[in-house]
Subunit: 133 residues, 2 copies
């Protein structure tokens, strides 16, 4: 069993095109022998955002602190502490910090080999580590 | 996409043998068409606890507020706000509130049909809703 304080888990830069001032902690991952999915914590600075993008896996998100907006094809929706968000597979999305303080949220994703894929489609990230949200 | 405040998601009793003063909110589940796993929030009163039990699926846990202890075959380990816990499959465990305030934590589990099972073993809860932690 693993029991750890979040601050004791490394904070890593997210250097992905379209992301600004975003960092990540892999709280629970394959390194812990988690069989199905990974729990990550994202930290987004007041002027930061994740990429506006889409992919074949879902996000299950819980906002720990701060305020922001969820951007999608339907526009921008504000979120706050202890809001929960579900981004289905293949829906374009972005998380933006719209406040003056650090935004922290959890984002859980399936391991790449767990992703249910429609036939005739391929996931180019299959087998790779997914560091974006 | 779903965006909801946790308080707007129903709080349900957990009436399972071995549990005391535990409630659950299914924040993200199959009802949201989540394809792989469910995010639940547990609320445990100061004198409450989840069952001391084991099963074939893992828990990925994040402590939102309060203090408690994780009981396993190795004894009892204290946890606090913003601690993260990983309980691997088939490890006996229990979450106890050891503080004077409400304990709230997230607990993410795979959908029953997603569970990787060793051959020759069967999961009696296969296909049923798993309300325990």
């Amino acid at each position: 069993m693993k029991l750890a304080y979040f601050m004791d888990i490394p904070l890593e830069e997210v250097n992905i095109e379209g992301a600004k001032n975003v960092k990540i902690r892999w709280l629970i991952s394959k390194k812990d022998n988690a069989p199905h999915f990974a729990m990550r914590m994202f930290e987004v600075e007041p002027d930061g955002f994740t990429p506006y993008h889409t992919h074949e896996w879902e996000h299950e998100v819980f906002v720990l602190q701060g305020t922001g907006s969820l951007v999608s094809k339907d526009g921008e929706k504000e979120f706050k502490q202890w809001d929960v968000m579900f981004v289905p597979p293949n829906e374009t999305h972005q998380f933006r910090n719209t406040g003056n303080d650090l935004l922290r949220f959890l984002c859980i994703i399936p391991h790449p080999e767990q992703i249910k894929k429609p036939e005739k489609r391929k996931n180019p990230l299959q087998g790779k580590t997914v560091s974006t949200c």
